[in-house]
Symmetry: C2
């Protein structure tokens, strides 16, 4: 099975765990089989591999997520990187070209496209296989998954099928309706449109060539920023006559708010948390190193990360966005392909961060124009290159780096260091990268 997972943009609705660079799908909140915690993207990836060990998984996403994906899924996973955001039609066209031109998959094969973030069980992946098998048959150009509605939601689009069978031709689509209209649609047998569909690669390649002047993947990638923003629904789905829908009645939850996310948590507390016996329906996610004590609360979600602390009534938590938009602070932690960093202290003219490099990884070779840096290695072993000079480093070693000086560090074991940045204009934008000499 070929699967393209659409990994969407940054979201603030799960602040302080999601931020401008960490989307909700990277929050480690779900209990894995081995007892550790995994993120949505890790959970879905492991579910796919369980359903089909040979599945080719490609993640279609923006540049900012590449590091986090490699960090969480390893280096083998395929990533179709959008050089900039251009809505779903260009993204799916690019991922399709990536599968044929880069991965060398036969254009007659089918692929399933689905969002990375719904919370689903194993039966969902069986349904994806059926979707791909149905697309293989060629009865239709597009086969959508239609999710059996559990309530008259105003958040989803609806698919009205022509008949009530497992697989049916699509009669029509309905935009996000009012609750009353949704009830009426459901009476007519409507299904939720979860944005999950299968097609033969050739079909979307042809559509792409109709709408965009390009030769192959490399060419499409190169001119990506010139493409018109257009959704796959608008460009393809709504215009297609040969289109079917397959019913899916299993669990399918959109975990877009703290209220829905906590419903999917197996345990009420993640991290260092104490709760007294008078707490009812309280969920706490603590990513800090210090304890949270919760007492006498009802229907509350608490979440703490290096970005901040949320304490909210669960219902109210859906109104978080305008408040989070007001927060103007620098990114306090991030996962990178080489490891992670966390801001420890912010002063006007200094910034102290903790850097963790994974074994075998290194930073880019780079310099800063306006700041000096001091590294103190606190664990592990590795090698630094400073202005071309290579040197071994280990615990306790101090490396001072003047502004303008090129530097990198390569971790032999997992390596941690404290970096003190010093200067009047400390900014993430002050960075020039160089090839290693």
């Amino acid at each position: 099975m070929n699967i393209v997972l659409l990994s969407g943009g940054s979201g603030k609705r799960l602040w302080p765990l999601s931020n401008d660079i960490r989307s909700k799908q990277f929050i480690k909140i779900f209990k894995a089989e081995d007892g550790s915690y995994e993120s949505m993207v890790q959970r879905v990836y492991h579910q796919i591999k369980k359903a089909d060990a040979n599945a080719t998984v490609t993640i279609a996403t923006g540049k900012t997520q590449v590091s986090a994906i490699h960090n969480q899924l390893g280096e083998e996973v395929g990533i179709s990187v959008e050089p900039c955001r251009r809505d779903t039609f260009p993204a799916i066209a690019l991922a399709t070209a990536y599968l044929t031109d880069i991965k060398g998959i036969n254009p007659e094969e089918s692929v399933v496209v689905c969002p990375v973030d719904p919370y689903v069980e194993d039966d969902y992946f069986d349904a994806l296989k059926e979707l791909a098998a149905q697309a293989d048959k060629g009865e239709a150009n597009l086969v959508l998954m239609g999710i059996e509605p559990t309530y008259p939601s105003e958040k989803y689009g609806y698919i009205i099928p022509e008949s009530s069978g497992k697989t049916a031709r699509v009669s029509t689509f309905k935009e996000k309706p009012t609750a009353a209209a949704a009830e009426e649609y459901i009476r007519q047998g409507a299904l939720w449109n979860g944005g999950v569909f299968a097609y033969k690669l050739k079909y979307v390649l042809d559509k792409a060539h109709e709408l965009i002047d390009f030769t192959d993947y490399q060419d499409l990638y190169a001119k990506y920023d010139t493409l018109t923003r257009i959704s796959f629904d608008y460009a393809v789905v709504e215009k297609e006559d040969k289109i079917q829908v397959m019913r899916f009645a299993g669990q399918w939850k959109d975990l877009g708010t703290w209220n829905t996310l906590t419903e999917a948590m197996v345990e009420n507390a993640v991290g260092d948390v104490m709760m007294n016996e008078t707490c009812k329906n309280v969920h706490v996610v603590n990513e800090l190193d210090v304890p949270i004590l919760a007492m006498g609360l009802h229907d509350v979600v608490i979440s703490a990360s290096p970005e901040g602390i949320l304490v909210s009534d669960k219902e109210q938590s859906s109104y978080i966005k305008p408040f989070v938009d007001k927060i103007d602070q620098q990114i306090m932690f991030a996962e990178k392909s080489w490891g992670s960093f966390r801001v420890l202290d912010v002063e006007d003219e200094s910034l102290t961060i903790k850097v963790t490099l994974n074994a075998g990884h290194s930073m880019n070779y780079h310099s800063h124009k306006y700041r000096d840096e001091v590294w103190v290695v606190t664990s592990g072993e590795g090698r630094t290159v400073v202005d071309g000079m290579e040197q071994e480093v280990r615990v306790g070693d101090v490396v001072t780096i003047q502004a303008g000086c090129r530097h990198t560090i390569m971790a032999e074991t997992e390596l941690k260091l404290i970096e003190v940045q010093l200067g009047r204009e400390i900014s993430v934008h002050d960075k020039q990268k160089f090839p290693l000499e």
Copy 2:
């Protein structure tokens, strides 16, 4: 007026703002006249100085609080330091000897002794002056303040006066009663015993010499650890016949729990806090550098510090202690006489802290047996001494200190540095102090 403020031990009832080394009286939570925040000890000190600019204020306390007191009140304030804890009679005897022998106050003068932590208004200090004036008269050896009860509290002892006048002879004392007994006492005209009283210095000096074999302050200090633990109430108050009580009907609140403390807060939020309009009776105290967002909460207190995060229903917050007792983590921040420190990162074999030295102050000259340290100066200017070698330091300077090496830093301006401690056995107890050569 001579005042002795009894500054009691560490309390965990206001965790995470109070901890093993920061007592509740040092939490900066009250709005001062200039808009800044002040602690209980700062508030009461400023109130005393406003009521009587020439008041001699002495704080009777244990060793662990000396740094915080100097940091919050400056170097001029008198401190009678108990070398170890020996209950209130030895503490008051020591403070009394301190006033006569160190401060040179005439033993015929009177002094008012009161706890540092009740929340009071200016009329309280007028009442203290009246108490001292009454003691000056010599009608009684001890003059107690009797606080008009506002409810039949089970938390306080009661004083039964012989008559209902402003000043009366004490008939008898009652221990903390049940609510029913308290109601009965109040019907009989009983007053709360807030532990506030005045006496002529000579009176307590004589009592001390009766019970303890000592010559003067220095001698009493030297043998302090051999003294029997005994309360002032038991040793003196309950045995005294010539004892009066003066009524006080002003505000007098014991802010011992989060519930009572928040009642005294003028604003609902201290620190970086956002609250939406659906929050009712919510108080937030945030000592961290990142925001707290509270939504849809009722009757809740939230408090965050480098030690941890409390989110509690206000009523429930009085049951905090057993939970906090379970927390076994190192001290994450502290005020010292020379400034303050805060732990930024804890690893098995390293510890990173931020040190702030006040201008003109320095650390002790000291060494560590089992750890190396690296200092990176991030702001200010000063001088280091490392194994006798003195050197000027400024922003960006790095000082590496091997285990065994003696070191200190003196701040010329306010000076901040990041200290990385490295070693297998990092402990606050690994410290040897030396005189500066």
